[in-house]
């Protein structure tokens, strides 16, 4: 017997290639996954992970903004009202001022992995600063990544017409927290 020529090696020499081919075929078979697996975005974000910096994830979210969206006139209503309050607090009046403040949604983007639902971008004299936002039903939840402004919102919603005062109060409160974060970064 040749040196090191064991029963295992003989088996592999005799049967190895055939088994390997069948094994490979079995592995590469096409399977149809139920669409629900990838349609369930929350499952995908919670149970998967990608090495990506916050800056890169925000840049990707910016590239994926809804059609016809304008970061200086964001929709839906809440985003628009929030933007208006923040701009007002910053003392913006002229069109050129508004260009310095931009709002982007990050819902269903890579930034979700970082607990970011949306963010403001503000051009200051020195740099562009970011303030990230996250809406939650449970602000005490111990996530690894937290946005700068994490706030509670009634999960059954608020109607800006029916709950006018509460809507304005909450939106202003969140805008104040955004301003506080801007101040911390020397943006005001």
């Amino acid at each position: 017997m040749r040196e090191g020529y064991t029963g295992h090696l003989i088996e592999r020499e005799l049967f190895g290639e055939i088994n390997k081919r069948k094994y490979k075929e079995a592995l590469q078979k096409n399977y149809e996954i139920p669409s629900a697996v990838f349609d369930n975005f929350e499952l995908f974000v919670k149970e998967s992970w990608k090495k990506i910096s916050l800056e890169k994830s925000l840049a990707l979210a910016k590239e994926a903004q809804p059609e016809d969206s304008d970061p200086t006139e964001p929709t839906p209503r809440f985003a628009g009202d929030l933007y208006a309050y923040v701009a007002e607090e910053l003392g913006f009046k002229k069109e050129d001022d508004f260009k310095k403040l931009r709002f982007y949604t990050a819902v269903r983007s890579h930034a979700d992995q970082r607990g970011v639902d949306a963010f403001f971008e503000l051009d200051t004299a020195r740099e562009t600063i970011f303030v990230t936002l996250d809406v939650t039903g449970n602000p005490k939840k111990g996530d690894e990544w937290r946005a700068d402004v994490v706030f509670e919102w009634p999960m059954d919603g608020l109607d800006p017409k029916l709950d006018k005062e509460e809507w304005a109060r909450k939106t202003r409160e969140i805008a104040d927290r955004v301003i506080y974060e801007i101040q911390k970064r020397g943006g005001k």
């Binding site: 490979k24 592995l27 590469q28 078979k29 096409n30 399977y31 149809e32 996954i33 139920p34 669409s35 697996v37 990838f38 369930n40 975005f41 929350e42 499952l43 995908f44 974000v45 149970e47 998967s48 992970w49 990608k50 090495k51 990707l60 979210a61 994926a64 903004q65 809804p66 059609e67 969206s69 964001p74 929709t75 839906p76 809440f78 985003a79 949604t105 990050a106 819902v107 269903r108 983007s109 890579h110 639902d117 949306a118 936002l133 809406v135 939650t136 039903g137 919102w153 999960m155 919603g157």
Partner: protein, 105 residues
């Protein structure tokens, strides 16, 4: 859809899904790297948009279960390759399980 995602969409709107152009190739060197996420169990590569993610055991079990397939004894030696993922707009639900190619150091 969860209440949290629904609320976030109502307040902020939603990003568009990444265009699944298809034909992306996975880099064998990336597959050979140790998993970095503390919950990391396997990898999933989307050839629709080129996204390579680590998935945890729960997600791997969901996939194997949905395929009515037994998990291999050595799952870390395999990776999933799909035509779409949670971030892109692909429509093809095909998924394959591949052995991670051996890479010489």
């Amino acid at each position: 859809m969860s209440t949290k995602i629904k609320t976030a969409e109502e307040l902020f709107g939603s990003t568009k899904r990444i265009n699944a152009t298809g034909g992306h190739k996975v880099n064998s060197l990336d597959l050979a790297k140790p998993l970095e996420w503390e919950q990391g169990f396997m990898r999933l590569f989307c050839e629709g948009c080129g996204n390579l993610v680590e998935i945890n055991q729960r997600f791997a079990e969901v996939i194997f279960h949905s395929l009515d397939r037994k998990m291999p004894d050595n799952p870390r030696e395999f990776y999933f390759q799909s035509k779409r993922c949670g971030y892109c707009d692909g429509q093809d639900n095909t998924i394959k399980l591949f052995a991670i190619p051996k890479v010489n150091a």
